[in-house]
Symmetry: C2
Subunit: 173 residues, 2 copies
Protein backbone atom coordinates (compact mmCIF):
# COMPACT_ATOMS: atom_id res chain seq x y z
CA UNK A 1 0.00 0.00 0.00
CA UNK A 2 1.31 3.45 -0.94
CA UNK A 3 1.44 5.70 2.09
CA UNK A 4 3.10 8.99 2.92
CA UNK A 5 4.83 9.89 6.19
CA UNK A 6 4.62 13.66 6.51
CA UNK A 7 4.61 16.38 9.20
CA UNK A 8 1.22 16.93 10.81
CA UNK A 9 -0.47 20.16 9.64
CA UNK A 10 -2.68 22.28 11.91
CA UNK A 11 -5.67 21.08 9.87
CA UNK A 12 -4.87 17.46 10.83
CA UNK A 13 -5.26 18.03 14.57
CA UNK A 14 -8.82 16.71 14.65
CA UNK A 15 -7.67 13.46 13.07
CA UNK A 16 -4.68 13.18 15.39
CA UNK A 17 -6.98 13.77 18.37
CA UNK A 18 -9.12 10.85 17.19
CA UNK A 19 -6.02 8.63 17.09
CA UNK A 20 -4.87 9.88 20.53
CA UNK A 21 -8.23 8.75 21.97
CA UNK A 22 -7.95 5.36 20.26
CA UNK A 23 -4.48 4.84 21.73
CA UNK A 24 -5.63 5.81 25.24
CA UNK A 25 -8.44 3.27 24.97
CA UNK A 26 -5.97 0.62 23.93
CA UNK A 27 -3.79 1.58 26.91
CA UNK A 28 -6.86 1.16 29.17
CA UNK A 29 -6.57 4.74 30.41
CA UNK A 30 -9.17 6.59 28.25
CA UNK A 31 -10.35 8.81 31.13
CA UNK A 32 -6.96 10.50 31.24
CA UNK A 33 -7.43 12.29 27.91
CA UNK A 34 -8.13 15.94 28.70
CA UNK A 35 -6.67 17.59 25.61
CA UNK A 36 -8.62 18.77 22.55
CA UNK A 37 -7.87 19.38 18.91
CA UNK A 38 -7.93 23.11 19.65
CA UNK A 39 -5.21 22.70 22.31
CA UNK A 40 -3.19 20.56 19.90
CA UNK A 41 -3.39 23.33 17.31
CA UNK A 42 -2.36 26.05 19.78
CA UNK A 43 0.50 24.09 21.31
CA UNK A 44 2.02 22.53 18.21
CA UNK A 45 1.84 25.35 15.68
CA UNK A 46 3.20 28.42 17.47
CA UNK A 47 6.71 29.85 16.89
CA UNK A 48 8.05 27.78 19.79
CA UNK A 49 6.00 24.58 19.54
CA UNK A 50 5.60 22.28 22.55
CA UNK A 51 5.63 19.20 20.33
CA UNK A 52 6.08 18.02 16.73
CA UNK A 53 4.15 15.29 14.97
CA UNK A 54 4.36 13.02 11.94
CA UNK A 55 1.33 11.34 10.38
CA UNK A 56 0.83 8.37 8.04
CA UNK A 57 -1.57 9.18 5.23
CA UNK A 58 -2.94 6.56 2.86
CA UNK A 59 -4.56 7.37 -0.52
CA UNK A 60 -8.37 7.75 -0.61
CA UNK A 61 -8.86 4.34 -2.22
CA UNK A 62 -7.15 2.72 0.80
CA UNK A 63 -9.07 4.65 3.47
CA UNK A 64 -10.24 2.95 6.67
CA UNK A 65 -13.66 1.32 7.02
CA UNK A 66 -14.88 4.57 8.59
CA UNK A 67 -13.40 6.75 5.85
CA UNK A 68 -10.15 7.95 7.44
CA UNK A 69 -6.95 8.48 5.45
CA UNK A 70 -4.75 9.53 8.39
CA UNK A 71 -4.13 6.16 10.01
CA UNK A 72 -1.16 6.62 12.33
CA UNK A 73 1.02 9.21 14.03
CA UNK A 74 4.23 9.76 15.97
CA UNK A 75 4.27 12.69 18.39
CA UNK A 76 7.66 13.78 19.74
CA UNK A 77 9.61 16.73 21.16
CA UNK A 78 13.20 17.72 21.84
CA UNK A 79 14.48 17.24 25.38
CA UNK A 80 17.87 17.37 27.07
CA UNK A 81 20.10 15.02 28.99
CA UNK A 82 22.72 16.62 31.23
CA UNK A 83 24.80 13.50 30.54
CA UNK A 84 24.33 13.09 26.77
CA UNK A 85 23.09 16.43 25.47
CA UNK A 86 20.23 16.78 22.98
CA UNK A 87 17.58 14.07 23.09
CA UNK A 88 14.36 13.33 21.35
CA UNK A 89 11.38 12.02 23.30
CA UNK A 90 8.72 9.95 21.54
CA UNK A 91 5.49 10.61 23.41
CA UNK A 92 3.20 8.47 21.22
CA UNK A 93 3.57 6.08 18.30
CA UNK A 94 0.32 4.62 17.01
CA UNK A 95 -1.06 2.90 13.91
CA UNK A 96 -4.76 1.96 13.61
CA UNK A 97 -5.29 -1.80 14.04
CA UNK A 98 -6.59 -2.29 10.50
CA UNK A 99 -3.37 -0.78 9.10
CA UNK A 100 -0.87 -2.79 11.11
CA UNK A 101 1.62 -5.23 9.63
CA UNK A 102 2.43 -2.89 6.75
CA UNK A 103 5.59 -1.37 8.24
CA UNK A 104 3.99 2.00 9.06
CA UNK A 105 5.10 1.91 12.72
CA UNK A 106 8.64 1.10 11.65
CA UNK A 107 8.60 3.97 9.15
CA UNK A 108 7.27 6.46 11.72
CA UNK A 109 9.93 5.37 14.21
CA UNK A 110 12.64 5.53 11.54
CA UNK A 111 11.67 9.03 10.42
CA UNK A 112 11.57 10.19 14.07
CA UNK A 113 15.06 8.77 14.65
CA UNK A 114 16.29 10.47 11.47
CA UNK A 115 14.96 13.86 12.60
CA UNK A 116 16.66 13.31 15.96
CA UNK A 117 20.04 12.53 14.43
CA UNK A 118 19.77 15.44 11.98
CA UNK A 119 19.25 17.73 14.97
CA UNK A 120 22.23 16.42 16.92
CA UNK A 121 20.27 14.18 19.32
CA UNK A 122 22.13 11.17 20.70
CA UNK A 123 19.17 9.42 22.29
CA UNK A 124 15.53 8.64 21.56
CA UNK A 125 13.59 8.02 24.76
CA UNK A 126 10.02 6.88 25.41
CA UNK A 127 7.87 5.04 27.97
CA UNK A 128 5.97 1.77 27.55
CA UNK A 129 3.42 0.09 29.84
CA UNK A 130 4.90 -3.11 31.28
CA UNK A 131 1.97 -5.28 30.09
CA UNK A 132 2.24 -4.06 26.47
CA UNK A 133 4.34 -7.01 25.33
CA UNK A 134 3.86 -6.36 21.60
CA UNK A 135 5.26 -2.84 21.94
CA UNK A 136 8.15 -3.96 24.14
CA UNK A 137 9.07 -6.69 21.64
CA UNK A 138 8.83 -4.20 18.77
CA UNK A 139 11.23 -1.76 20.45
CA UNK A 140 13.62 -4.24 22.05
CA UNK A 141 13.89 -6.14 18.76
CA UNK A 142 15.36 -2.94 17.34
CA UNK A 143 17.84 -2.43 20.16
CA UNK A 144 15.94 -0.30 22.71
CA UNK A 145 17.06 -0.66 26.35
CA UNK A 146 14.54 -0.86 29.22
CA UNK A 147 16.12 1.65 31.62
CA UNK A 148 13.69 0.81 34.40
CA UNK A 149 14.79 -2.83 34.34
CA UNK A 150 18.48 -2.14 33.59
CA UNK A 151 19.21 0.79 35.88
CA UNK A 152 16.17 1.17 38.13
CA UNK A 153 14.71 4.42 36.79
CA UNK A 154 11.10 5.10 37.89
CA UNK A 155 8.84 7.71 36.29
CA UNK A 156 7.30 10.21 38.72
CA UNK A 157 4.74 12.98 38.35
CA UNK A 158 3.30 15.91 40.29
CA UNK A 159 -0.05 17.25 39.13
CA UNK A 160 -3.16 19.07 40.30
CA UNK A 161 -3.14 20.21 43.94
CA UNK A 162 0.26 18.68 44.65
CA UNK A 163 1.77 20.81 41.86
CA UNK A 164 0.00 23.93 43.10
CA UNK A 165 1.19 23.35 46.66
CA UNK A 166 4.78 23.07 45.42
CA UNK A 167 4.48 26.30 43.49
CA UNK A 168 2.55 28.46 45.88
CA UNK A 169 4.39 27.41 48.99
CA UNK A 170 2.29 25.14 51.15
CA UNK A 171 4.44 22.04 50.78
CA UNK A 172 2.22 19.62 52.71
CA UNK A 173 2.45 18.41 56.30
Amino acid sequence: MEAVIRPCAAADCGEVMRLIRELAEFEKLPDQVQTSDQALREDGFASNPFYRCLVVEVPPECRSREGHTIVGYALYFFTYSTWKGRNLYLEDLYVMPEFRGKGFGKKLLGKTAEIGLENGCTQLKFAVLDWNRAAIDFYQGRGAVDLTAAEGWHCFRFEGEALERLAWGQPGP
Copy 2:
Protein backbone atom coordinates in the same frame (compact mmCIF):
# COMPACT_ATOMS: atom_id res chain seq x y z
CA MET B 1 21.55 31.57 55.07
CA GLU B 2 20.62 34.15 52.44
CA ALA B 3 20.53 32.56 49.02
CA VAL B 4 19.13 33.53 45.65
CA ILE B 5 17.32 31.24 43.22
CA ARG B 6 17.84 32.71 39.76
CA PRO B 7 17.95 31.62 36.10
CA CYS B 8 21.27 30.16 35.04
CA ALA B 9 23.32 32.54 32.84
CA ALA B 10 25.58 31.35 30.02
CA ALA B 11 28.55 32.31 32.21
CA ASP B 12 27.38 29.84 34.89
CA CYS B 13 27.61 26.78 32.62
CA GLY B 14 31.04 25.78 33.94
CA GLU B 15 29.69 25.74 37.48
CA VAL B 16 26.56 23.84 36.46
CA MET B 17 28.74 21.30 34.65
CA ARG B 18 30.68 20.76 37.90
CA LEU B 19 27.39 20.08 39.73
CA ILE B 20 26.18 17.75 36.92
CA ARG B 21 29.34 15.66 37.42
CA GLU B 22 28.85 15.60 41.20
CA LEU B 23 25.26 14.36 40.77
CA ALA B 24 26.32 11.64 38.29
CA GLU B 25 28.90 10.42 40.81
CA PHE B 26 26.25 10.31 43.51
CA GLU B 27 24.01 8.34 41.14
CA LYS B 28 26.90 5.88 40.58
CA LEU B 29 26.86 6.50 36.82
CA PRO B 30 29.74 9.02 36.38
CA ASP B 31 30.96 7.43 33.13
CA GLN B 32 27.73 8.44 31.41
CA VAL B 33 28.54 12.18 31.44
CA GLN B 34 29.53 13.14 27.91
CA THR B 35 28.39 16.76 27.84
CA SER B 36 30.60 19.82 28.35
CA ASP B 37 30.10 23.38 29.52
CA GLN B 38 30.45 24.48 25.89
CA ALA B 39 27.57 22.19 24.84
CA LEU B 40 25.50 23.49 27.75
CA ARG B 41 26.08 27.06 26.57
CA GLU B 42 25.18 26.26 22.97
CA ASP B 43 22.08 24.23 23.79
CA GLY B 44 20.59 26.37 26.55
CA PHE B 45 21.16 29.88 25.28
CA ALA B 46 20.00 29.88 21.65
CA SER B 47 16.68 31.37 20.50
CA ASN B 48 14.99 27.97 20.86
CA PRO B 49 16.77 26.52 23.90
CA PHE B 50 16.80 22.76 24.51
CA TYR B 51 16.60 23.27 28.28
CA ARG B 52 16.24 25.89 30.98
CA CYS B 53 18.00 25.99 34.32
CA LEU B 54 17.75 27.60 37.76
CA VAL B 55 20.69 27.92 40.13
CA VAL B 56 21.05 28.52 43.88
CA GLU B 57 23.65 31.16 44.64
CA VAL B 58 24.92 31.90 48.14
CA PRO B 59 26.78 35.09 49.11
CA PRO B 60 30.61 35.00 49.02
CA GLU B 61 30.88 34.77 52.81
CA CYS B 62 28.88 31.52 52.72
CA ARG B 63 30.81 29.90 49.85
CA SER B 64 31.66 26.21 49.88
CA ARG B 65 34.90 24.81 51.31
CA GLU B 66 36.31 24.86 47.78
CA GLY B 67 35.17 28.41 47.11
CA HIS B 68 31.97 27.87 45.11
CA THR B 69 28.94 30.16 45.43
CA ILE B 70 26.68 28.25 43.00
CA VAL B 71 25.67 25.32 45.15
CA GLY B 72 22.64 23.76 43.48
CA TYR B 73 20.63 23.68 40.28
CA ALA B 74 17.37 22.53 38.71
CA LEU B 75 17.47 21.79 34.98
CA TYR B 76 14.13 21.41 33.19
CA PHE B 77 12.38 21.74 29.84
CA PHE B 78 8.87 21.93 28.44
CA THR B 79 7.36 18.72 27.10
CA TYR B 80 3.91 17.60 26.00
CA SER B 81 1.37 15.01 27.04
CA THR B 82 -1.21 14.03 24.43
CA TRP B 83 -3.52 13.36 27.37
CA LYS B 84 -2.90 16.42 29.57
CA GLY B 85 -1.28 19.04 27.31
CA ARG B 86 1.73 21.12 28.34
CA ASN B 87 4.10 19.51 30.80
CA LEU B 88 7.34 20.40 32.47
CA TYR B 89 10.08 17.80 32.85
CA LEU B 90 12.64 18.13 35.64
CA GLU B 91 15.81 16.51 34.36
CA ASP B 92 18.00 17.21 37.40
CA LEU B 93 17.58 18.69 40.88
CA TYR B 94 20.75 18.84 42.94
CA VAL B 95 22.12 20.63 45.99
CA MET B 96 25.73 20.12 47.16
CA PRO B 97 25.91 17.94 50.28
CA GLU B 98 27.34 20.70 52.49
CA PHE B 99 24.35 22.94 51.66
CA ARG B 100 21.57 20.44 52.31
CA GLY B 101 18.96 20.81 55.02
CA LYS B 102 18.52 24.53 54.30
CA GLY B 103 15.45 24.23 52.09
CA PHE B 104 17.30 24.93 48.83
CA GLY B 105 16.00 21.79 47.10
CA LYS B 106 12.45 22.65 48.13
CA LYS B 107 12.88 26.20 46.79
CA LEU B 108 14.29 24.99 43.46
CA LEU B 109 11.42 22.54 43.11
CA GLY B 110 8.87 25.19 44.08
CA LYS B 111 10.21 27.73 41.60
CA THR B 112 10.23 25.09 38.84
CA ALA B 113 6.59 24.21 39.62
CA GLU B 114 5.68 27.91 39.58
CA ILE B 115 7.27 28.39 36.13
CA GLY B 116 5.36 25.34 34.92
CA LEU B 117 1.99 26.63 36.15
CA GLU B 118 2.65 30.11 34.78
CA ASN B 119 3.21 28.51 31.36
CA GLY B 120 0.03 26.46 31.42
CA CYS B 121 1.64 23.13 32.37
CA THR B 122 -0.55 20.67 34.26
CA GLN B 123 2.14 18.17 35.19
CA LEU B 124 5.72 18.12 36.42
CA LYS B 125 7.44 14.84 35.56
CA PHE B 126 10.84 13.41 36.43
CA ALA B 127 12.67 10.11 36.94
CA VAL B 128 14.29 8.76 40.11
CA LEU B 129 16.54 5.73 40.64
CA ASP B 130 14.70 3.11 42.69
CA TRP B 131 17.48 2.86 45.33
CA ASN B 132 17.51 6.64 45.97
CA ARG B 133 15.22 6.44 48.99
CA ALA B 134 15.97 9.98 50.20
CA ALA B 135 14.87 11.47 46.87
CA ILE B 136 11.78 9.27 46.65
CA ASP B 137 10.75 10.26 50.19
CA PHE B 138 11.37 13.94 49.39
CA TYR B 139 9.13 13.82 46.31
CA GLN B 140 6.44 11.46 47.59
CA GLY B 141 6.17 13.48 50.81
CA ARG B 142 5.07 16.36 48.59
CA GLY B 143 2.51 14.36 46.66
CA ALA B 144 4.44 12.93 43.70
CA VAL B 145 3.12 9.68 42.24
CA ASP B 146 5.44 6.84 41.17
CA LEU B 147 3.96 6.05 37.75
CA THR B 148 6.15 2.99 37.29
CA ALA B 149 4.73 1.44 40.47
CA ALA B 150 1.17 2.75 40.01
CA GLU B 151 0.57 2.18 36.30
CA GLY B 152 3.52 0.11 35.06
CA TRP B 153 5.35 2.69 32.93
CA HIS B 154 8.92 1.71 32.01
CA CYS B 155 11.51 4.15 30.59
CA PHE B 156 13.13 3.05 27.32
CA ARG B 157 15.95 4.43 25.21
CA PHE B 158 17.55 3.99 21.81
CA GLU B 159 21.07 5.33 21.36
CA GLY B 160 24.26 4.86 19.36
CA GLU B 161 24.16 2.22 16.66
CA ALA B 162 20.58 1.18 17.44
CA LEU B 163 19.43 4.77 16.83
CA GLU B 164 21.41 4.99 13.59
CA ARG B 165 19.98 1.69 12.34
CA LEU B 166 16.46 2.99 12.98
CA ALA B 167 17.14 6.19 11.10
CA TRP B 168 19.14 4.93 8.17
CA GLY B 169 17.07 1.89 7.49
CA GLN B 170 18.82 -1.29 8.60
CA PRO B 171 16.42 -2.25 11.37
CA GLY B 172 18.29 -5.22 12.83
CA PRO B 173 18.47 -8.81 11.69
